[in-house]
């Protein structure tokens, strides 16, 4: 079985994130693999390791500009078998539907080597936090969607997940092939060790263009995007901030502050 993991290249959460010309600024310096995709990679690797040797292979795919290769490189260091980077100028500015179209075509390309049983994604990219891509990708691939999994088990060609929604905990099952998005509750991602980092250096990354995967340029990119960021400005810092040190009356000060602001 082939397991595909999608990994996104995003600005580091700890860095100063910003916008350039209506899209999220992404540079190699402070970019990284989306943190929640570590959980997706971990889920794929654990599944592979639970199966007999040679039964499963894990592919990591990223869609993005030249710098985005860092995301699949990271996945290789974590231990995935193959890395695919779909990179094409025409992709720039795609919305979630354009990105899903490209990812779906890349998954179909991998399927030419043999069937893909599972596509595993993170629950959200911590840059935009839309959480829409997993649903859009499942729809594009026309396969079952098991989203927000906090547990995942696969047996006899059926995937079972548990998901914790605010109002209910659900157990959901579907026959493979299926798309699963995992939360950060699903597992504890491993760290790359020295051996894996060295091994990853010699593993190739397959770079694909839109033409390679048969996607029409007109269907992706900024022109096809159904949304356009027309204004982006940094939020001004909070003004007149107060900080007191408790010397016996900190609680009283706190209460006074709330009362004066009309918040109590």
């Amino acid at each position: 079985m082939r397991i595909v993991v999608t990994v996104k290249f995003v600005p580091d959460l700890q860095s100063q994130r910003s916008f350039t010309d209506g899209t999220v600024t992404r540079t190699a310096d402070d970019g990284t693999m989306n943190e929640l995709d570590e959980n997706a990679v971990e889920a794929a690797l654990q599944l592979k390791e639970s199966l007999p040797e040679g039964e499963a292979e894990v592919y990591a795919i990223t869609v993005g500009g030249p710098d985005a290769v860092a995301a699949v490189r990271k996945a290789l260091q974590l231990g995935v078998d193959h890395a695919v980077h779909v990179c094409d100028e025409a992709i720039a500015g795609s919305d979630v539907f354009g990105t899903a179209r490209v990812l779906a075509a890349a998954v179909r390309q991998i399927e030419k080597d043999g069937p893909v049983g599972l596509v595993i994604t993170g629950m959200a990219a911590l840059d935009g936090l839309t959480s829409m891509l997993p649903t859009a990708l499942a729809a594009q691939l026309d396969i079952a969607q098991l989203t927000l999994a906090s547990t995942l088990a696969v047996a006899d060609g059926v995937a079972t997940i548990e998901r914790h929604l605010p109002d209910a905990h659900e157990t959901v099952t579907a026959k493979l092939p299926a798309l699963v998005s995992v939360t950060d509750e699903a597992n504890k991602p491993r760290y790359p060790n020295f051996k894996l980092i060295m091994a990853a250096r010699s593993k190739p990354v397959t770079t694909l263009s839109l033409a390679d995967i048969g996607v029409d340029r007109a269907q992706v990119g900024a022109m096809a995007s159904r949304t356009t960021v027309i204004e982006a400005s940094p939020q001004p810092p909070r003004e007149n901030r107060l900080k007191v040190t408790d010397t016996g009356d900190g609680g009283t000060h706190l209460a006074q502050f709330l009362i004066e602001r009309g918040l109590a």
Binding site: L13, S18, P166, R226, T227, T228, L263
Partner: protein, 319 residues
């Protein structure tokens, strides 16, 4: 006011309408003519009346029961009920984002989720959002003829319509798609007394600094009529249930007041609360990052500070 039809998907639980639905109806009224879409069991009469009070002229009902839990099914139902709407508003939740995605694919609509507001400019829907843990303000135009916007709670103040409508109940029949997923078990999460966390105007949250004892946090929440939140470390420790977790992978909250007690203010946590109106922090460490975004910070032990604050606030309430 235009004739643009704005459909609002009603959030309800056990037939009780969630407050953000009224916020969405208020927003819908500022853009066009609101119609409410109700999915699940038939709505009770008082719910229909309440929707009318907030300006819904129709309540379009899809009696599809539990099948509404499947995003693809819910999307097909919503498409059938909102075919004439240029804009569909939903309350932003994990489930509605999935419904919105399916609906967009089925109708070629453009979508923006986690919105703080929307308006119509030159015939196009424009949406306001704060992103990157509320450090940037962004305005996005939806280029498609049909728009779907998922709005965050507490971003529009719910006000009844000047002239309440008597909402007409319209039954909608939708052809529902086959689904590949089967929901084998649903265990409802017991709802706590009071306002749900995501909708609360005041949130008092406790982190690792509580050491597992939420008594003071709960008391402060109680005296401020607020909801109780938590950091991931606290829910991971099992001190409080997962539904209380605020942050990028938990609940996003935008209350008028957020009080962080014994929470360091990690970037993941901030991402879910930084857009709050006023932020107050109590932390023993003067260098805790939470102080960078706190309008009012007390450097001190929460076990000293909170009891005193609670007493003073109680006295104020009674006084």
């Amino acid at each position: 006011m235009t004739d643009t039809i704005v459909a609002v998907l009603v959030e309800h639980r056990n037939h009780e309408i969630a407050q953000p639905t009224f916020e969405a109806l208020t927003l819908a009224r500022s853009i066009g003519r609101p119609v409410a879409v109700w999915m699940g069991q038939e709505p009770p009469a008082d719910a229909v009346a309440a929707l009318g009070e907030f300006g819904a002229q129709e309540v379009r009902v899809l009696a599809i029961g539990e099948r509404a839990r499947h995003p693809k099914t819910a999307s097909a139902a919503l498409a059938a009920a909102a075919g004439d709407a240029a804009l569909v508003l939903v309350v932003s939740t994990f489930l509605t984002k999935e419904i919105a995605t399916h609906l967009a694919i089925a109708t070629d609509a453009g979508v923006v989720v986690d919105a703080a507001g929307a308006d119509m400019v030159d015939g196009r829907v424009e949406v306001r959002q704060t992103v990157f843990g509320a450090t940037w303000n962004v305005r996005t135009r939806i280029n498609a003829d049909r728009a779907i916007v998922a709005v965050l709670p507490n971003t529009t103040k719910a006000t009844p319509a000047d002239t309440a409508a008597v909402a007409e109940v319209v039954d909608v029949v939708a052809a529902l798609p086959d689904v590949r997923e089967s929901i084998d078990a649903v265990v409802p999460v017991a709802r706590e007394e009071g306002v749900p966390l995501s909708e609360a105007a005041v949130v008092v949250a406790g982190g690792r600094g509580t050491n597992g004892d939420y008594t003071l946090v709960r008391e402060l929440a109680d005296v401020l009529s607020g909801a109780v939140g938590a950091s991931r470390d606290a829910t991971d420790e099992g001190w409080i249930s997962h539904e209380h977790m605020v942050g990028q992978t938990g609940v996003t909250v935008t209350p008028a007041l957020y009080v962080a007690c014994g929470i360091s203010g990690a970037v993941h946590h901030r991402g879910g609360m930084q857009a709050s109106g006023t932020i107050v922090a109590v932390n023993i460490d003067p260098d805790a990052p939470i102080f960078e975004i706190a309008d009012f910070g007390v450097v001190g032990d929460l076990n000293d500070v909170l009891p005193q604050a609670i007493d003073a606030l109680r006295a104020h309430r009674q006084g």
